[in-house]
Symmetry: C2
Subunit: 251 residues, 2 copies
C-alpha cells in the first residue's frame, strides 16, 4: 500500500485502479554514499517509500513519473520498473490500521493491494524533496541508516537495490546519479557505494578511460582540500554504445 493510494472519499475510488498501487525507491548519491528518499509520516514519526495509485487514464509508468515529479520536483527522471509485489498479506494490516488511524479511515485496509515497484536514479543536488499531505517531511536517508519502514517497504528497498546491482552493467547509472561534471574519484566512489566493495583507483580509471564513455574537461575542481581533481563529463552517445555492445562490468 502506498501513500497516495489512500482514498479519503468516493471521488478517488473512481479515478484509480482498485487494489493496485506503485512504490518508488529513489536513489541519490552524495558524500560518497547511496541515499534513498523517504517520507516521514505525520505525528508517528515513522518512514515509508513514496508511492501512489494509478489513474484509469494513465499508464503505470506515467503514474510513477507523476509520483516522482511530486516528490522531487524533477522532470525527465531515469526510472525502471523492477518488480511487482503480489503477496496476499504484504504486511500487518492491523498494525498499520492502528498506526495511521488518525490520518486515514479504516475502510482503506479492507482489500489486499498489489504494488508495482520502481527505482529511480536522480542527481542528488537537483532534487527538492517535497512531502505530501500525510507526511511531515521528505528526506534523503543514507542506505546504511534506513530504519524499519512502514508496510513492506524494507523488502521493496532490498529488492530495488538488488535490481540496481544486477542492471548496473547495462544501465547508464553514472549519467543519472552523478552531476553533469564530476571527478574520477566521485565516479569510483559511486560504484563502490552501489557494489559495497573497494575498487582499485588505477584499474578503475584505466577501464573507464579505455571505453571512452567520459571526456576530461580542461578544468579542475577548485575549492577542495588537497590536490584538485580533474573534472569529467559523459560522452552520452559513446556511453549508450558501450552499454549496448555488452555492458560495463565491475564484478
Amino acid at each position: 500500500m502506498s501513500t497516495e493510494n489512500i482514498k479519503t472519499g468516493p471521488e478517488q475510488s473512481i479515478g484509480g485502479i482498485p487494489q493496485l498501487s506503485l512504490d518508488c525507491v529513489i536513489f541519490g548519491f552524495h558524500d560518497s554514499s547511496l541515499k534513498v528518499l523517504l517520507l516521514k509520516w505525520k505525528d508517528i514519526g515513522e518512514w515509508s517509500l513514496p508511492g501512489g495509485y494509478i489513474k484509469q487514464t494513465e499508464s503505470v509508468d506515467d503514474a510513477a513519473i507523476r509520483v516522482l515529479k511530486e516528490r522531487t520536483a524533477l522532470d525527465k527522471i531515469f526510472l525502471r520498473q523492477f518488480y511487482t509485489f503480489g503477496k496476499v498479506k504484504r504486511y500487518d494490516n492491523e498494525l498499520i490500521k492502528k498506526k495511521l488511524a488518525h490520518l486515514v479511515s479504516d475502510h482503506i485496509w479492507l482489500d489486499r493491494v498489489v504494488s508495482v515497484g520502481y527505482y529511480a536514479l536522480v542527481d542528488y543536488e537537483k532534487v527538492f524533496p517535497t512531502p505530501d499531505r500525510f507526511t511531515e517531511s521528505c528526506d534523503w536517508v543514507d542506505l546504511d541508516d534506513v530504519p524499519e519502514l512502514l508496510f513492506d517497504h524494507n523488502e521493496i528497498l532490498t529488492k530495488a537495490l538488488k535490481a540496481l546491482r544486477l542492471e548496473l552493467s547495462f544501465q547508464p547509472i553514472g549519467l543519472n546519479l552523478l552531476p553533469d561534471k564530476f571527478t574520477m574519484p566521485d565516479m569510483l566512489r559511486m560504484y563502490e557505494a552501489i557494489l559495497d566493495k573497494k575498487i582499485d583507483p588505477r584499474n578503475f580509471q584505466k577501464k573507464i578511460l579505455k571505453t571512452g564513455i567520459v571526456i576530461r574537461l580542461p578544468e579542475v575542481k577548485k575549492g577542495v582540500a588537497h590536490k584538485s581533481p580533474y573534472l569529467y563529463k559523459f560522452d552520452k552517445k559513446r556511453y549508450t554504445e558501450v552499454l549496448e555492445e555488452g555492458g560495463l562490468f565491475f564484478v
Copy 2:
C-alpha cells in the same frame, strides 16, 4: 488481457482482482531449438499466451503457478516474474472484441487491464499441453515460427526473451530446460538457441567442466546415429554455488 481473466458471469468478478491479470511465457527446449507453449483459440485459429486472473485469496505468484499447472500438468515449475505491462491501451480492444465475440461477452473489454508477466522454464518432455475452455489446442511453437498473437502477446514474448537472456548467467536455466540426463551437445545447443549465436564446442566443454556444475555419468546415449555422446547430470549444489558466486557467463 488474459484468457482466464475473462468473466462470463458476475460470480467470477467477485473472486478475482479487477483490472489485473497475468500472462505466462512457457519456454521449452527440444530438437535444438527454443519453443513456447501457445494456445489456439476456438474457431478463429489465432494464438495467444496462456494467462489468468488473480484470486483475492492467492498471491500473484500462486496464481501463476496455478495457470502453469493447468496448462502443463506440471508441479514445481521454475517461474520468474519479469515485467508488469501497464499501458492504458495495450492492444486494439475493438478488434479483439470482434474476433472473440462468439466466445466472450462485450462488457469484458470495458476496463483497461494491467498484466503481470512471468516466464517459466520447463522440461519439454514432461509437459502435457492442455487447452482451456476458450481454446481448441495448446501446442509448442518454435520461437522462430511464432505467428502474430492476440492482445499484446508478441510484445510480452519479446520482453520475456530479453529477460531470459539477461538472467541467463544467474539462473539455473539448464537445470530447468534440460531433462535429468543430457549430453554436452544438448547443453551447448540450448545456449546457442537462447543466445541465438554459435559457440565453439571445445571451449564450451572446457568452461562447463571447469565449473564442476555437471557430472559425467558412466553411460552414453544409445540409439542415436553416429558416435554415442556421454550423458551428464547437474550437480545441483555446485550449480547453485557457481551462480551465486557471480554467474556463468557466455557473452
